[in-house]
């Protein structure tokens, strides 16, 4: 441990870097506001963050000759809520599936911490489940938990009334809570939620995010949240990653909301609540959506295309 601290010492200029062994690259002027910053995308040699729950470097996925993801670097640490936003077709779900190990990347690597235990709430949980099963049975299926523990967790997510109902009888919102309860019952250190508010109304959405934030405070797990929506999500997030096949920009919510790449992706409407800053574009998207650096050398010098800069 002592020698690790020593190794990190040169990076100590970055007061925000709370993760030992962190890449010193982060020290100069990348305003991500935390120690788990994405690495520059041109630089494939950036080391894995071994303290992160999950650490990805240079991820690329190609399907049918189309690049769905390219040059993705990502770390998620304990107690951190990371929100992945991006328009439809940005590759959010593909990225999550790669991180979960459901799909293997064509390029790059994912490093999972040895003790990583994932609780997963998938994007779509077929409501018309044809298998006859009560909520309680679903919660304890394949695990070692007792029905009593299942009931306690159900109460925690405000879904006690569903305990003896059939899965097929639940509404969309109830089903989300039940699946969340199952994820929590596994005592995860990383909770992955893929668009958890689909089919949930606006109040339900705010409520669900508050619940996730509260649970994170209580239990200290990391959270990876996928959303195509913005403000409520951002309020609770420690870091937002704006994805459009590559990491367009990332940082604390306020930074991302002001970032031109974000405004370009989501339009002025979405960013209206925030001041808009002008700066030079570090990349553009071609007709297929692939990013191209505006100037070759500019992109190469750019320490973190994900970072926000003021012109």
């Amino acid at each position: 441990m002592a020698d690790r601290e020593a190794r990190v010492a040169p990076a100590a200029t970055d007061a925000r870097s709370h993760v030992p062994g962190h890449n010193p690259e982060h020290a100069h002027g990348v305003s991500c506001g935390h120690g788990c910053a994405p690495q520059p995308r041109e630089e494939m040699s950036a080391p894995f963050d071994r303290n992160a729950l999950i650490s990805a470097r240079g991820l690329g996925v190609t399907r049918h000759g189309r690049e769905l993801l390219t040059g993705i670097d990502l770390d998620i640490c304990e107690r951190e809520i990371v929100t992945l936003i991006g328009p439809n077709g940005a590759g959010k779900t593909t990225l999550v599936r790669v991180l979960l190990g459901l799909e293997s990347p064509d390029r790059g690597e994912v490093l999972r911490r040895k003790d990583l235990r994932i609780g997963y709430v998938p994007q779509r949980f077929d409501v018309d489940a044809i298998i006859p099963m009560t909520v309680e049975r679903f919660l304890i299926l394949g695990g070692k938990e007792t029905p009593d523990r299942a009931a306690a967790i159900l109460a925690e997510v405000n879904a006690s009334s569903t305990r003896h109902q059939q899965l097929s009888q639940l509404s969309g919102g109830e089903l989300q809570r039940v699946v969340l309860a199952r994820a929590l019952l596994r005592a995860p250190n990383l909770l992955v939620l893929d668009e958890p508010v689909q089919g949930v109304d606006y109040t339900g959405e705010a409520e669900l995010y508050n619940l996730i934030g509260r649970l994170r405070d209580d239990r200290g797990f990391g959270v990876l949240l996928v959303s195509h929506d913005l403000h409520i999500v951002m309020a609770r997030s420690d870091r937002v990653i704006c994805l459009n096949r590559h990491v367009c920009c990332s940082g604390v919510p306020e930074t991302v909301a002001k970032h031109p790449a974000y405004v370009r992706l989501f339009g002025d409407e979405a960013a209206r609540a925030f001041a808009i800053y002008r700066h030079h574009h570090d990349h553009s998207h071609d007709i297929s959506g692939l990013p191209h650096p505006a100037q070759e050398h500019a992109a190469a010098q750019d320490p973190a295309p994900g970072g926000s800069k003021r012109a």
Binding site: R97, Y120, F125, D126, P132, M133, G142, L167, V192
Partner: protein, 265 residues
């Protein structure tokens, strides 16, 4: 006293009803009926293979069923065309190829109808041995893999993300399904095999609240259908396999109608 051929038919039918119950339930839960249908119809090629190589027909069917099942799984991996379109194309093609292959076999004429609709009264002691031994192996594996199979049936991605070896479990299930299809073919024929698996499970679904109860009820409905169907067949000289499937379908019709009426109230 029962005639020996009737005893053999009963033994085979009841044995198959019990073995097919859990598989039929999983086929319904995982919406794999079309998949099984294609494997079954392609199995006619296995009959031709058995004749051509002079080996036991069940063995030929078994080999072809497993090969076809894995080909289909492999086709399912491509994402250009939806799997059900591929299946819709293939199951007719497979049937056509099978019929042609059988018609080209030289020597004694082959009873094509017997393979298409089964001939439960022509069951031999060897067939019964296949059903009992194969059935016990299939059931033992289903019991062993019960939890992971259920988790896959509830939600495949969730199970995989939680660490279920989904590829391996799915592969084993595919083999079990192919084995069951191959064994059941003798009794109900390749055109009715999937009905034998799926229809009792459909009949049981509205009446049950847990997966285990659904499997047990499926086995009961299938067994009762075998008894009634064989009695009909003996009494009215109707073909055995189709009689069994018809009784099952009536049960499913009643069960679904009752469920529909209950929902409306």
């Amino acid at each position: 006293m029962l005639e020996p051929f009737l005893v053999r038919a009963l033994l085979a039918g009841l044995g198959l009803a019990i073995v097919a119950a859990p598989l039929g339930c999983f086929v319904v839960w995982q919406r794999m009926a079309y998949f099984g249908e294609t494997v079954a119809q392609a199995s006619l090629l296995g009959v031709a293979l058995g004749f051509a190589l002079q080996v036991d027909l069940t063995l030929g069917v078994l080999v072809v069923a497993i090969v076809i099942a894995f080909l289909l799984v492999w086709f399912g991996r491509q994402e250009v065309v939806a799997l059900d379109s591929v299946l819709g194309l293939l199951h007719h093609a497979a049937l056509a190829a099978g019929v042609i292959a059988i018609s080209m076999i030289k020597g004694a004429p082959v009873d094509l109808m017997g393979f298409l609709f089964g001939d439960v009264f022509a069951i031999t002691s060897l067939d019964i041995a296949w059903i009992l031994v194969g059935g016990c192996v299939v059931l033992a594996i289903v019991v062993w893999l019960w939890q992971p199979l259920l988790r896959l049936a509830v939600h495949e991605d969730l199970a995989a993300a939680e660490g279920v070896a989904h590829q391996r479990v799915r592969t084993i299930f595919t083999v079990l399904l192919a084995v069951t299809i191959a064994v059941a073919m003798k009794i109900v024929g390749i055109l009715l095999v999937m009905a034998f698996l799926v229809v009792p499970a459909v009949a049981a679904r509205p009446l049950t609240g847990t997966p285990e109860r659904m499997v047990v009820l499926t086995a009961l409905i299938a067994s009762a259908s075998v008894l009634v169907g064989l009695w009909l067949s003996a009494a009215f000289d109707s073909p055995g396999g189709p009689s069994i499937v018809l009784v099952m379908s009536l049960a499913a019709g009643l069960s679904l109608t009752a469920a529909g009426l209950r929902q409306r109230r």
